[in-house]
């Protein structure tokens, strides 16, 4: 026999809801990621003001302070031609995120129109675009970027072009998925029946729905592009000396690594922290904007 008599009793405090002030405590990762990303962008913008030796980010050389370990004068030490590593790392913050920005802008510029075309119009256009996308996607991205970057004269511009060429297919897929799912909804049918022009439908209905996943994807991709760019620079296919690109700095410091660890460690750490911060940010944004926020256990 089962009995459920009931005497109400006070319950313990609720778990922090998402949009209340417990937000910060329940999303420490997002908060940290956002804060660090903002700091990095700030450092990039204020580089000339905060770097102790701005000239070292350029072609200055100091033959008498070559390979000095970290000290009060040079927090991160000096590199093989005597340049202050801290300054170079700070100036490096201008390079990587900028590359990421351009790459993702290009990827969106290509991906959004193609994606909408494929998703909204469907049919053979969809097939053609998706096959093309599949082929480029089947190419291991890094290899393609490698090949392209090698074939073009080494520079940051070539790097940006090479990485963009491998990145756009993901955005086509993403936008296409969104466009296709929205286009299939009944209310779009009624829009068409009402005689609303295609352009209006696309801009006022399809595009806004695609924005949220797009933002999430972009913020998640920043870290990835930064890693790819630094890997290519490490191989010598991107930035050239004296540009203070972090990947290049790691590559240059390789030969001295066993004795002078700081030349490699700090630039690499910068890459790690930057990618980490942006990934945290992207991850947090995705959690935030995901409609299925309720977590069951």
């Amino acid at each position: 026999m089962i009995e459920i008599p009931e005497a109400p009793a006070p319950a313990p405090a609720p778990a922090a809801a998402l949009r209340t002030r417990g937000w910060l405590r329940s999303n420490p990762l997002l908060a940290a990621g956002g804060a660090v990303s903002a700091l990095i962008v700030l450092a990039a913008v204020l580089a000339p003001l905060i770097a102790p030796d701005p000239g070292d980010a350029g072609s200055a050389t100091h033959p008498f302070s070559v390979l000095k370990p970290p000290s009060a004068q040079h927090w991160f030490g000096t590199d093989q031609v005597g340049r202050d590593i801290l300054s170079r790392v700070i100036y490096g913050a201008r390079i990587s995120p900028l590359v990421a920005l351009f790459v993702l802008l290009i990827a969106c510029a290509i991906g959004i129109p193609l994606g909408i075309a494929a998703g909204y119009f469907g049919g053979w256009l969809d097939d053609v675009i998706m096959r093309l996308t599949d082929i480029v996607l089947a190419f291991p991205a890094l290899l393609l970027a490698l090949a392209l970057a090698a074939l073009l004269p080494p520079s940051m511009t070539s790097l940006t072009i090479a990485i963009s060429a491998t990145w756009w297919p993901w955005y086509v897929r993403l936008i296409r998925g969104q466009a296709a799912s929205v286009a299939g909804r009944p209310y779009i049918e009624s829009c068409r029946a009402l005689g609303i022009s295609r352009r209006r439908i696309i801009f006022r209905h399809i595009l806004p729905n695609a924005i949220t996943p797009l933002i999430v994807q972009v913020s998640l991709d920043v870290g990835g592009v930064i890693l790819t760019a630094s890997a290519l620079s490490f191989l010598g296919l991107g930035a050239q000396d004296p540009t203070p690109d972090w990947g290049l700095m790691v590559s240059e410091g390789q030969t001295y690594f066993t004795t002078d660890w700081w030349v490699v460690t700090f630039p690499g750490l910068a890459i790690l922290i930057t990618a980490f911060a942006f990934n945290l940010l992207g991850d947090g944004l995705r959690d935030l904007l995901d409609p299925r926020r309720v977590i069951l256990r």
Partner: protein, 247 residues
């Protein structure tokens, strides 16, 4: 039972005797399904807490350690759910979960197989169906398998959470008949939760009516249906469409 500071279900007193089929009626959102979870001790999985007392044969359930609750689940209290096609993990064969549960409760492999096979025959299904995947069985079959699993585990009480709501009327009748048989053959008690008053009227011995988390009226089925005391009950009854025969 509460979600955070919000009390969702506040039952005064609801009892099910041996071999009794008690109906719990009410609209969607009145907190009926929560009752099932609370009794099974699974309220925490949806983030709710339970305060008060739930007794099984005089044994208090609220506050029992998880290990004990696991032992009780299935073997003394069983449950079947609203959507039979969703109640089975799609990548496992239908019989898998039950066999594993039986083995966890101490039976050997062959003992478990025998029990479940026998239970399947008891619900008029071939034991072969146990080796199929959920996508290969119909809703009615799946619900009967679910009931068979409860039988195989020799549960004394069955919590049936809207078991027929997702089924066709004809299949529904089969399931109801099955529940009646279980009651008369095995003495199983059933808490039949539903929003469908017609079904409750047909099946249950006693009825409790729930509104917004509280029981507003309780009593023998016949009495409630014909002479409801609470206005809400009267409203519910009035909303059931009746097909009249014009003489």
């Amino acid at each position: 039972m509460r979600f955070g500071a919000r009390a969702v279900v506040d039952l005064d007193h609801l009892g099910v005797d041996d071999g009794e089929i008690v109906g719990l009626a009410g609209e969607s959102g009145s907190g009926k399904s929560m009752t099932t979870l609370a009794v099974l001790g699974l309220a925490n999985t949806v983030g709710a807490t339970v305060a008060g007392s739930i007794k099984l044969d005089g044994t208090e359930l609220v506050g029992l350690p998880e290990k004990v609750l696991i032992g009780l689940r299935g073997s003394r209290i069983a449950a079947i759910f609203q959507s039979p096609s969703m109640a089975f993990n799609p990548v496992f064969r239908v019989g898998d979960v039950a066999l594993r549960a039986l083995r966890r409760h101490g039976l050997t492999g062959s003992e478990a197989t025998d029990r479940v096979d026998q239970a399947m025959r008891g619900v008029l299904l071939s034991p072969d169906l146990l080796r199929r995947y959920p996508s290969q069985l119909s809703g009615g079959q799946l619900q009967r398998v679910a009931i068979a699993l409860a039988v195989a585990l020799r549960a004394e009480v069955l919590l049936a959470d809207e078991p027929t709501s997702a089924l066709d009327v004809t299949v529904q009748a089969e399931v109801l008949e099955l529940l009646r048989e279980l009651r008369s053959r095995d003495g199983m008690s059933v808490l039949f939760i539903s929003h469908d008053l017609a079904v409750i009227a047909e099946l249950c011995d006693r009825v409790a009516v729930m509104q917004s988390g509280s029981i507003v009226e309780q009593g023998p089925a016949g009495q409630i249906m014909s002479a409801p005391e609470h206005p809400y009950t009267a409203d519910l009854l009035a909303s059931v469409p009746v097909i009249e025969r014009r003489a």
